[in-house]
Symmetry: C2
Subunit: 332 residues, 2 copies
């Protein structure tokens, strides 16, 4: 099968997830797209490299899902509504079963958010996926990293550290539901839950939309809170004090994470794909309610300060020294 | 140096090539962009993999140039004016000298066409570059593959086969101008000229713009005329008859290409990045003049027919059987 037949067969099915603004989708030299009037466009691109951004044994479905999810997470952090995506797929071989799984995963997430796949390129090489995602927000409404002000609450959606714990444990319970009566049922359920956080992150799009007009600043957590939050602080010219004990954790994380590793996993493990937002006191109640309506918790973890730098405090109030700065692609 | 410092240092310099419609460039979760009113957007993405889309010894400058050029060539074929691009760069190591060269090449072409780099991602892995390019055209004005009609002239810009000949010869004269008095001066000049066609293709953007309102159909030639033209024929529901002897060749190609390889190189060698357009008789003179003004020749190479299929004829009028279907990424 040649390149073109391959693209047609596996990706044509993705196009109808949405036709919003799509004058011409896949199949020409470029897609023709009509941006929504009165809106700005938000554009982002992210690459997943096999063995670096996902374990080599990750299921094709999950790779497809995650490739889109990490890009939609960036749009969520801007408070954008997603519209379109383009896929550049580099594959060692044109494996039909793998392509079907990959397409199904990408498709399912695209359909959930009415994202249309409007363009692509398929090349042979070491497995790597680059997606460019495009969203829209009314002019001036997009959330940025640069608006945090002293006194703002620092908040995160959902829970932190689950994906990092899954990666640390390295165990993946393949297929089959755990028998709730067996003694190790809870362990199996925990593993599957943690692994899902690693393999199928949920982009917080509804929360991002709901936080427009409320949050002063936002970004998504991909490399770990300790490193990512620094970008907000630098862009806003402020500092922050974070209460380490307040970092939200899932029940599975609480049961299984080794005590000695908890803070490192939650603050620097990465792959959380939660939103970190800075909110004035006056907007906190509304933002918490809006996130609840969007199906995700919002937890206060600290405060923005005029004094620069990121400071961590234990529950006792004591300062904690952290040598964690998030996942650095050229630093490992 | 960490990922972020690396991105900042090497790519920040690219942003000011243009600020058209750029509300917020590199440095947040997504770029914020304002599409020009009354226009549609054209979007395309293309990946270059080391050793597959360019020889491993290609200079970093040329890789940067070519990565953008192949994407701008797609926009040219749609008759779009380029606006923005996003870069996903996968690198085995954070080599500063390489990055400087790459950035300089990308930068130089971006500046020529006022393209702003508005987003990016840098990851570690086998060398591969994915660029997503965005352009604009007035609503309804974009050129497509689907409008060719029986009787249309099939035309190509520039010359065909130069890049393929450079690749076949494999020799690259590194640095230094040829001494015009030396006996092999012409050979050196030819090599450099052919190699430039391979390494620094010129996207035919001005020609694409000039052909809006004149051409019935257009596409860019990346995999070779024989394969690429099939896409126009399929999309338009027509056939074509091509005069093999009319394919335009450069003086360097005419001097150096072995007779036995000429047609294969010109029709299926690939990497031409010229435009192939279908023009009604009534528009031919205007299109030829418009291309001349845009700095490139336009050559008639055949006719669109109602009868489906692509047929090749020799200068004698005899049919030529071609087993060339262009470069297939999963077929080699």
């Amino acid at each position: 099968m040649d390149e073109f037949a391959l693209i047609r067969r596996h990706f044509a099915s993705l196009t109808p997830a949405s036709t919003r603004g799509v004058t011409l989708g896949i199949g020409d030299d470029a897609a023709i797209l009509k941006p929504p009037p009165g809106h700005e466009l938000l554009m982002t691109t992210d690459t997943l490299v096999a063995g670096r951004h996902f374990p080599l044994q990750t299921a094709a479905f999950d790779i497809g899902w995650k490739s889109l999810a990490v890009n939609l997470s960036d749009l969520a952090a801007m408070g954008a509504e997603p519209l379109w995506c383009l896929l550049a797929l580099t594959l060692p071989t044109a494996d039909e079963a793998w392509l079907s799984g990959f397409t199904a995963g990408l498709s399912q997430l695209a359909a959930q958010h009415r994202v249309a796949l409007v363009g692509g390129d398929t090349t042979r090489g070491p497995l790597s996926i680059t997606i460019t995602a495009v969203g829209a927000a009314p002019v001036g409404a997009a959330l940025r990293r640069s608006g945090a002000r002293p006194g703002d609450h620092v908040c995160v959606t959902g829970t932190l550290g689950d994906a990092a714990l899954a990666l640390m444990r390295g165990g993946f319970i393949a297929g089959g539901a755990a028998d709730a009566r067996s003694p190790c049922a809870q362990r199996l359920i925990d593993d599957a839950e943690l692994r899902a956080r690693l393999d199928r992150p949920i982009p917080r799009l509804a929360a991002g939309l709901a936080l427009r007009g409320l949050a002063h600043a936002a970004l998504d957590l991909s490399d770990g809170l300790a490193g990512d939050l620094q970008h907000v602080l630098a862009a806003s010219g402020v500092g922050a004090e974070i209460d380490a004990a307040s970092l939200p954790m899932s029940a599975a994380f609480a049961r299984q994470a080794p005590d000695a590793d908890r803070l490192a996993l939650q603050a620097a493990g990465g792959d959380d794909y939660e939103l970190c937002v800075c909110l004035p006191e006056s907007a906190l109640a509304a933002a918490t309610a809006a996130c609840r309506d969007a199906g995700v918790t919002l937890t206060v973890i600290g405060r923005i300060t005029a004094e620069p730098g990121l400071r961590w405090r234990a529950a006792s109030g004591e300062a904690i020294t952290m040598n964690l700065s998030g996942y650095q692609h050229f630093h490992d």
